[in-house]
């Protein structure tokens, strides 16, 4: 099967908007932060944002899962913590969830 190289106009538009929104954040620090003062209070808030969003994605996802998903999730946490390798954590997690679903 040859790879799908089609481009849907709507998707290209959404990707362009994402690219623009992201570039604004990257260039914004360079441009804006020389002109306005961001308090340390707001800074710590901004730093906590990515983690808070990732946790917000995971919470409901895991609530909907069962023992197999919870066990695999715990294993992923341990592997990611010990090895700091995303790829290894994924492979272990995917393998574990299949195994646990067969057993539990």
């Amino acid at each position: 099967m040859s790879p799908d190289i089609s481009l849907t106009p709507v998707v290209v538009g959404v990707v362009a908007a994402m690219a623009l929104a992201t570039y604004v954040t990257k260039a914004g620090g360079l441009w804006l932060l020389g002109r306005i003062d961001v308090s340390e209070r707001v800074e710590t808030g901004l730093e906590v944002l990515p983690g808070a969003i990732v946790v917000s994605i995971l919470g409901p996802e895991l609530v909907e899962g069962g023992p197999a998903e919870w066990g695999a999730a715990a294993l992923v946490l341990v592997v990611a913590w010990k090895t700091e390798s995303v790829l290894l954590a994924i492979v272990v997690g995917a393998g574990a969830v299949v195994a646990f679903r067969g057993v539990l």
Partner: protein
């Protein structure tokens, strides 16, 4: 990494003083140019970032597979990696992806997740402002977490290589786009995703991201607040807005409990 950021903006007295006069162009002209922008700087950044980029490539393969599962073509996934260049935001986007695409949610969440780049860019100002606008604003396009940290280390150790950010960013970019294509192409050849546990990959990726973002016990309160709001929001709010609601709850909690 985050503590690095704070030190850079706060501990250097001269930086703070310069920051108070951002528009004093004539004063800047008087200052000796200490940061260069050379081909060898680009090369040096690229070479030093290759080992880190290999790790990024593992992540890129996962993103490619997820994007393909979400319904993006190989070309669309590659286009996103090439133009957005922000791992976590892209993975979240394909998680939110649906038919029709919730545009406001996808773009808004990407913006909020990436707000941290504003601080990272600000930390680079003391060096980047010695470059021309094209050099500086071109370089930050290629800024990701990994090469930002590498560049901060390089420049703070006294290096004058202003092109290091661009060089290291080009390495990240090349590996990120290449691995996305690889993952998206491979993803298309896989039949039933749940047979291989692939439906769990997204959860695994986010768990690994969470581990890398965890900054110690101080994160406990905002993360717990975010979790609670998200779980409740998933029941009460339409679509996937609970994700943004949880993130903002974490932000508000952190700001509210801040003590200097």
């Amino acid at each position: 990494m985050r503590r690095d950021n704070e030190e850079t903006t706060c501990s250097d007295g001269t930086v703070a003083a310069d920051d108070a006069l951002p528009d004093a162009a004539d004063e800047r002209a008087d200052r000796k140019r200490t940061v260069t922008f050379t081909r060898s700087g680009v090369r040096d950044g690229f070479v030093k970032c290759v080992p880190v980029s290999l790790g990024v490539a593992g992540y890129g393969i996962a993103f490619g597979v997820l994007a393909q599962q979400a319904g993006l073509s190989v070309a669309e996934a590659a286009l996103m990696s090439a133009t957005v260049v922000a791992g976590a935001a892209q993975v979240i986007a394909v998680e939110l992806w649906a038919d029709p695409i919730p545009v406001a949610l996808v773009v808004g969440t990407a913006f909020v997740v990436n707000l941290r780049y504003t601080l990272m860019g600000a930390a680079l100002r003391p060096w980047l402002r010695d470059l021309t606008p094209l050099q500086a604003y071109g370089s930050v396009f290629f800024m990701a977490d990994e090469n930002w940290a590498l560049t901060m280390g390089e420049l703070r150790s006294g290096s004058d290589k202003g092109a290091f950010l661009l060089g290291s960013g080009l390495a990240i970019w090349a590996f990120w786009v290449g691995s996305t294509v690889l993952g998206a192409t491979a993803g298309a050849t896989i039949g039933e995703p749940s047979r291989y546990g692939l439906d769990f990959v997204l959860v695994a990726v986010f768990l690994a991201i969470a581990v890398s973002l965890w900054d110690g016990a101080s994160d406990l309160v905002p993360w717990a607040g975010a979790l609670l709001v998200a779980v409740l929001g998933a029941q009460l709010l339409p679509g996937s807005w609970y994700i943004l609601a949880g993130g903002i709850a974490g932000f508000v909690l952190e700001v509210a409990r801040f003590e200097s």
